[in-house]
């Protein structure tokens, strides 16, 4: 929920390369050639959901978990999987087996060795986890091939598994801690830090640096503290008071940044607009939405840039697409398809037989109220009578898809195949009936995407699919919102689409 809706928080991707690769980053060093350390105190928006990676959220848990656990794969700012404990990997020609080579110089903080057997145990545990299982839906089994090699056997091709693993679903845990069932309170990983005994749960987490960690130079933060604060003003006060040097920021913090010599990093996070949950017009109330001209009219009716300027206070990107702006899959020219034009919208409604509009009921909850007035006003101009059924924030996710359309603030993915799956092709809570089978051209293009050779061929297929769904007005997207991170001048953050707060690997010392 935190990841999908504002108030809880309201995130550049690249082609998904299923090819072997390696990488590494250099840490800053002092004049003597040793690594310099910098105190880092982070103000995160939420407390860690759980120290057990199988129960953790990806959203705001990244900095906490990345401190104590090493992942098999990490991810870079472009959404590309990068080596972690897996040094390289290879995908079989039939795309159903991924073979990974593992590091051999790592041990868990309790002294247990990290090897293929330990990796398989963690992966089996993650596959069964209520929150982590999302990454392993198409996994048949994990196999320890030898001491430092594992194989992931898939039931079918899965172009998103490496992305989700890198996003935060492949943290490795000590086998004995899994057996003990103690991970939720006493994390045992092989990460660059261990959880300090002086931590106060829910208030301040202190971390002790592991001096001989295999990537210690990538984590020059010492001491490291992470504090959860669910109030933007409190975070800003802490930053101004010198208690933090990196926070999850808002517009006020952005405005104060130049005077304080703070760095600002923003990354796309969510799309905002109308989700058509009945684009087939299968229900009586949703019938008008079954006509593409009505859906297109609702695209012409709203001025995305105006909404960014007013409600978004100038922060965000006006677009009509669900693919994050300027990432693979996104097609800039499509933004010209529905320029704001209320007369054109009226004309399309009239052509569809709704010259006098129609009546519709939509759900409404407090986090979405900023858009209520503009919807009422715009629909009013089109003759559409809208009745808002008030509900609370918690119920919104359950009831919203029962209405033909609803105000949506939906988390985006940096991986274009994941976007195809989660926004277009596969049922999700916000799109329980994608209905793509009723659009043969779109269905055929989805099939093309899932069978295309990863890389340029697949990206081209995705861009074509994006063009088709935009033409068919699958959504009425107004804009894409951002996550912002404010840091003191010696730190720089690389936002990652799909994470509300990046991991420690995305924090760099620059000063």
């Amino acid at each position: 929920m935190k990841k999908a809706l504002p108030g809880v928080a309201l995130a550049a991707a690249a082609a998904f390369a299923l090819t072997a690769c390696t990488s590494g980053t250099d840490a800053p060093s002092d004049g003597d050639g040793g690594t310099s350390v910098h105190p880092l105190s982070i103000g995160n928006f939420l407390d860690v959901t759980s120290w057990d990676p199988s129960l953790a959220d990806i959203g705001f848990d990244g900095p906490y978990l990345s401190a104590v656990y090493d992942p098999l794969l990490t991810i870079d700012g472009d959404g590309q999987p990068q080596p972690g404990l897996a040094t390289d990997w290879e995908v079989s020609d039939d795309f159903t087996t991924i073979t990974m080579n593992l590091r051999t110089d790592t041990e868990f903080s309790n002294g247990e060795a990290f090897n293929a057997e330990a990796a398989v145990k963690s992966l089996d545990y993650l596959k069964a986890g209520v929150r982590s299982q999302e990454a392993y839906q198409k996994v048949e089994s994990f196999e320890a091939v030898d001491e430092d090699t594992i194989a992931i056997h898939l039931t079918q091709r899965d172009d998103t598994i490496l992305y989700f693993m890198g996003l935060g679903r492949s943290y490795m845990m000590a086998p004995s801690a899994i057996d003990d069932g103690s991970l939720a309170t006493a994390p045992v990983g092989s990460g660059p830090y261990t959880l300090g005994a002086s931590s106060v749960p829910g208030a301040e987490y202190h971390f002790d640096k592991v001096a001989d960690h295999w990537a210690a130079e990538d984590f020059p933060f010492d001491p490291l503290t992470i504090s959860p604060l669910s109030d933007a003003t409190a975070m800003l006060n802490g930053m101004e008071g010198g208690q933090f040097n990196l926070i999850y920021g808002d517009k006020t913090a952005m405005d104060l940044a130049p005077d304080n010599d703070w760095n600002v990093a923003s990354g796309l996070s969510m799309w905002v607009g109308l989700q058509f949950s009945d684009r087939l017009g299968a229900t009586e109330m949703g019938k008008p939405l079954g006509d593409v001209r009505v859906r297109q009219a609702l695209n012409y009716a709203f001025n995305g840039q105006e909404l960014v300027d007013t409600i978004g206070q100038g922060v965000g990107v006006a677009t009509n697409q669900v693919f994050p702006a300027d990432t693979p899959g996104y097609v800039k020219s499509l933004n010209d398809m529905y320029p704001a034009n209320i007369e054109k919208a009226k004309q399309l409604l009239a052509e569809a037989g709704y010259a006098d509009g129609f009546d519709v009921t939509m759900p409404m909850a407090p986090p979405f109220q900023p858009w209520q007035a503009i919807i009422e006003q715009t629909f009013g101009e089109l003759g559409i009578g809208v009745t808002f059924k008030e509900t609370d924030f918690m119920q919104y996710m359950s009831v919203a898809p029962e209405y033909p359309m609803f105000v949506a603030v939906i988390a985006m993915d940096g991986n274009p195949v994941a976007t195809v799956e989660r926004q277009i092709a596969k049922p999700q809570w916000y799109n329980p009936n994608p209905g793509v089978e009723a659009f043969p051209e779109i269905q055929a293009q989805i099939d093309t995407v899932f069978s295309a050779e990863p890389g340029d061929e697949q990206i081209a297929a995705i861009e074509k699919l994006n063009e088709l769904v935009t033409e068919q007005a699958f959504f009425s997207v107004w804009s894409q919102s951002t996550n912002t991170y404010i840091s003191t001048s010696e730190f720089e953050v690389t936002p990652v689409i799909g994470m509300m707060f990046p991991t420690l690997r995305q924090i760099e010392v620059v000063g």
């Binding site: 929920m1 990841k3 999908a4 829910g202 409190a234 006060n237 996710m397």
Partner: protein
């Protein structure tokens, strides 16, 4: 006294069961399927099913209630649906933070409010009386969150005398602990100080005009003994307000805890409401009700001690 205590205990338990039962069914009616909110974007149908099985919401509500109420009588508040940790242990971690701030606020209110109230009551119409009355109007008119923000900006951000956010445990540093609760306690207490002072002032003025006070004065009692008598007769309304304030401040602390990023019951309540973590909400409700019962019980005892006429036979 024993009968009084037993009656109070029984009524407290009945109140607890009634409020807990009502809260249980209201929460389940309001959040029929909590798995979506708990899983967020990871909410695939398979994950929802697995979570429902793990937290037991795939069973009839009445069965869930039976388990929960049985656990309650065993002192087991169940496990959180968000992080699967025992609710009791998590509340026990947060409660001392809230109690620290609220207790400090109540003490501050009692001492300052009492002092100002006595001074104003004994010298009606003087500058101190006018100051208390004017202060009451001004401080009542100021929103608590605004006062809190003003305090942070002045004493934490600019002067750096206190931390802007965060909480230090007393076992880590007593000085640090006092520093971390000072501004939040002042924020909470300001309104209460003037309320107590105003209440006490009026009660003293009222009591001062009664016959027994004239009698005491005519007997030539020293002023301090007269003040003691005055206080014994004027204190009950102020103590009642102080007790009500303690309960009120527990909920008022939510905003202050948010502004000062204190890891108390407030943020826990807010997060649990947003997540649909019903066991946690129920646990917080139970603990709050227990506190209400205890505070009222202690108030009755205290009032009886101060004023024998108030004792329940």
């Amino acid at each position: 006294m024993l009968t009084f205590t037993l009656k109070r205990l029984v009524s407290g338990v009945i109140l607890l069961v009634v409020v807990a039962t009502a809260t249980f069914f209201l929460a389940h009616a309001a959040i029929p399927d909590p798995t979506l909110g708990l899983l967020g974007s990871a909410a695939t149908p398979e994950a929802q099913q697995a979570l429902a099985a793990k937290i037991g919401t795939d069973r009839p509500v009445i069965v869930q209630f039976g388990d929960w109420i049985a656990g309650l009588f065993r002192g087991d508040l169940g496990d959180s649906w968000k992080n699967f940790q025992p609710v009791g242990a998590q509340i026990a971690l947060k409660l001392p933070v809230t109690l620290s701030v609220v207790t400090a606020a109540v003490l501050l209110s009692a001492v300052l409010g009492g002092l100002l109230g006595v001074l104003a009551g004994l010298r009606p119409g003087t500058w101190i009386d006018k100051l208390v009355k004017a202060g009451a109007v001004i401080l009542f008119a100021l929103p608590g969150f605004w006062v809190a923000l003003l305090l942070v900006m002045t004493f934490a951000v600019q002067l750096k005398w206190f931390p802007a956010v965060g909480y230090v445990q007393p076992q880590e540093s007593v000085g640090g602990w006092l520093q971390s609760i000072t501004l939040p306690a002042i924020s909470l207490a300001l309104g209460a100080v003037v309320m107590i002072a105003e209440q006490l002032r009026n009660a003293i003025i009222r009591a001062d005009g009664l016959d027994y006070m004239r009698t005491l004065r005519s007997r030539g009692l020293p002023q301090w003994r007269i003040v003691v008598h005055l206080l014994r007769n004027s204190a009950p309304p102020s103590l009642t307000i102080l007790a009500l304030m303690f309960v009120g401040l527990l909920s008022g602390a939510i905003i202050v805890e948010q502004i000062f990023a204190l890891p108390g019951i407030g943020p826990l309540t807010q997060a649990s409401s947003q997540n649909g973590d019903i066991p946690m909400l129920l646990g917080i409700t139970v603990v709050t009700v227990v506190f209400v019962v205890i505070i009222n019980f202690l108030l009755d005892i205290l009032l009886g001690w101060i004023n024998p006429k108030a004792r329940v036979k």
